[in-house]
Amino acid sequence: MDAADLRCPYQESRLKTTASLVDLVRGNLANGTLHKRNLVWLELNGCSGNIISLLNGQNPDFQYLITQMTNFIYSNSLIAAEGNYAMDQLFNVIGSDYILAAEGAVSLKDNGIYNIIGKNNGKPVTGLEAVKALGEGAAHVIAVGACAAHGGVSAARPNPTECFGIQNVLQKKAIKLPGCPCHPDWFMGTLAYLLLYGEPPLDNRDRPLMFYGTTIHDRCPRRSYFDRGIFAEKLGEETCMFKIGCRGPVTPTDCPIRQWNGHVNWPIGDDSPCIGCAQFGFPDAMEPFISYNTTRGG
């Protein structure tokens, strides 16, 4: 029997979600049934690692995103302009049709003064002000990565700058793509779906079901070790990481089949536990990340 016949069609279709959606966008843009829409990428209180992860995207890649798929208006990390001219470009988008992608948490302490994203007409603009102004005017809002989705590491105890996910300051629904960072396919697939059909089917915490529907544990290639009770006692063992702290059982993402960086590897493939970076509550609720003593604690 041909090896391909043994593949699970469910897994296959899941893996190709992003690519097939983007192909459809490509076709519809070419035949004129779809127009390029404006996309704003707003960085807030975080590490700016989600824009770096986005640059790691393949099929579509970043070049396709900014030249073919959208009018990419703004990214602090990548925009050629600086200072007033860049800020004008950011805020002039308000009033037009645009999609807002935000990464990083929103810091509320002292009215957001701990995160100044620029100056507008000589006045400092906080991340809080920017996400409110741009969020309410957007056709859709996407919270990219753990910090934007739920506060993430920026909100880790004792949460020194009172960080929260962007939903806390928005009336409009933010589609949440938790992950530290967000996988580029999760963002590209969600964006392609928005362009084609509007809001994708979401779970009760506003995560797209197409990427966040099944736990890592349910599709883990090391699941048979778990079922047979064969557990790794240290990093580097090619068995189940559950007893050294794996959070795969509580983390619903498609990492086991999608993998990372051109699908070459992923944390469990690297003989280390999943640390639950794509689940709400990361990092505090997912610690300790690595424990040699018990399944939890120590």
Binding site: E43, G49, A80, Q89, I116, W260, V264, D270
Partner: protein, 458 residues
């Protein structure tokens, strides 16, 4: 009367930054570099499991996360009195090398090139308001092409990283002992093959591109020099069998190179938003930035690729915007050659992991040169938990605030620069980007003691 220029945001960096410069008769007479974001990682780390520092501190920075996994791992090994095997060191240094390549490629093409090359204006991301683009059309077009082609190459650098490190950004591979997984023959050959194509790109595109830019913007060999004090903690050095493949811990000032002594590092916060108790204080009258002021022997130092290239004797043309940019590009080539040696010396199929025990009470430090320069993590463990954590990043060295009347490194580099047009002061952005600022990394708080060397570390 001097005129004041404010650039905020300074874009094409990681994080948020403002530059304020006073200009008189077309020259900068005073400058302030301001970090505009605060997160407080060192506070967050207190009470956590020490082993978690490796994955946790990577979240400081999205573009150089591996750097923090390296420094935190070294700090933990130092606290545990644990010496990794040479194979373990080779493996994690290969991961670190991948991060260098990703950073340098993206810094040169995505962050630096738009300062000198006119990118196609029909894309909103590339619109600018200044006219100082000097490349002939054909050459400009070629560099635009290279800008886009580089995206595939930098992506493949992160792909190499993930082969050994699980994923990038925020890898899972670097850990106490070396890396979590083993190097197998298929992984080694996959990395070698990607590395080959990166090398071809660096030699055929990146290095010629930087020298073409240098030709058309040659006055930048004389702009943005600053103090000319250079410092490195060393990296890819001191292997048992291979010796030093790159640079040892050294400092350079007053035309003299000397051995680096970690006890000479201090950090002050006279002009940073922290009060006497080291708590964030946005109301502090003279303060203007979230970035403190690391000093060595009480003077400011420049860290990064130019410092390393100079101290290792690989490049000593000068200290300026253009030299910094060229040194970074040449360093990418150097890193490829180092990675090749490390790959050649790997023995496949060796596990470097053990079951580690958290010490009840211990202190340690991890100092290493990384993409942007000298990075230090200091840890104290008490009752098996993190009791104290301190991070001094490369960008804290380069973007430090002033102490007394002594300006920070980048501030000093900006002072004296010509500014042709007060409304489009393109020179200032070019100077600051030559340092590859990472403000995400640079703004921190630490608790318990004003000076670094007041804590007892091994």
């Amino acid at each position: 009367m001097p005129e004041r220029i404010t650039i905020n945001p300074v874009t094409r960096i990681s994080g948020f930054m403002e530059i304020q410069a006073d200009v008189e008769n077309h020259y900068v007479i005073n400058a302030k570099t301001k970090g505009m974001m605060f997160r407080g990682f060192e506070k967050m780390l207190i009470g956590r499991n020490p082993f978690d520092a490796v994955y946790f501190t990577q979240r400081i920075c999205g573009i150089c996360s591996t750097a923090h996994s390296m420094a935190s791992t070294l700090a933990l090994e130092s606290a545990m009195n644990f010496v990794p095997t040479e194979q373990g060191r080779y493996l994690r240094d290969i991961i670190h090398g991948c991060e260098f390549l990703q950073n340098h490629l993206r810094h040169f093409y995505q962050y630096t090139i738009p300062d000198f090359v006119k990118l196609p204006e029909n894309y909103p991301l590339f619109k600018t308001d200044h006219k100082d683009y000097r490349l002939p059309k054909e050459l400009n077009d070629k560099m635009v092409k290279d800008y886009f082609e580089s995206l595939d190459i930098s992506r493949s650098a992160h792909q190499m990283l993930a082969i050994l490190g699980g994923k990038a950004p925020h890898n899972h591979g670097v850990f106490i002992g070396g890396i979590t997984s083993q190097a197998t023959v298929d992984k080694i050959i996959a990395i070698k093959s990607i590395l080959d194509s990166i090398e071809v790109f660096i030699n055929q595109k990146m290095i010629p591109d930087v020298y073409e830019i240098a030709k058309y913007y040659s006055e930048y060999y004389h702009i943005g020099g600053g103090y000319g004090n250079l410092l490195s903690y060393g990296c890819f050095n001191n292997y048992k069998d291979l010796g030093t493949l790159y640079v040892n811990p050294l400092v350079y000032t007053n035309n003299t190179i000397s051995i680096f002594n970690p006890d000479e590092i201090t950090q002050e916060s006279q002009y940073a938003y922290y009060n006497d108790e080291n708590e964030p204080d946005i109301q502090k009258p003279q303060a203007y930035s979230w970035i403190k002021a690391p000093r060595y022997n009480n003077i400011p130092y420049e860290v990064g690729p130019l410092a390393r290239q100079w101290l290792s004797g690989n490049y000593r043309n000068g200290i300026s915007v253009m030299d910094r940019t060229i040194a970074r590009v040449l360093e990418a080539g150097k890193i490829v050659s180092i990675m090749k040696i490390l790959l050649q010396n790997l023995i496949p199929g060796i596990s470097v992991q053990q079951k580690y025990t958290v010490p009840e009470k211990a202190g340690g430090r991890g100092l290493i040169d990384t993409t942007r320069g000298a990075l230090g993590h200091w840890i104290n463990i008490d009752s098996g938990k993190i009791a104290f954590y301190q991070i001094i990043t490369p960008s804290a060295w380069n973007l430090s605030t002033q102490t007394g009347s002594i300006k920070g490194t980048a501030e000093q580099a900006i002072i004296g620069s010509p500014v042709r047009s007060i409304n489009t002061p393109v020179e200032i952005g070019r100077i600051i980007r030559s340092f590859d600022p990472c403000v995400s990394c640079a703004t921190h708080v630490y608790t318990g003691g004003k000076l670094v060397n007041t804590i007892q570390v091994v």
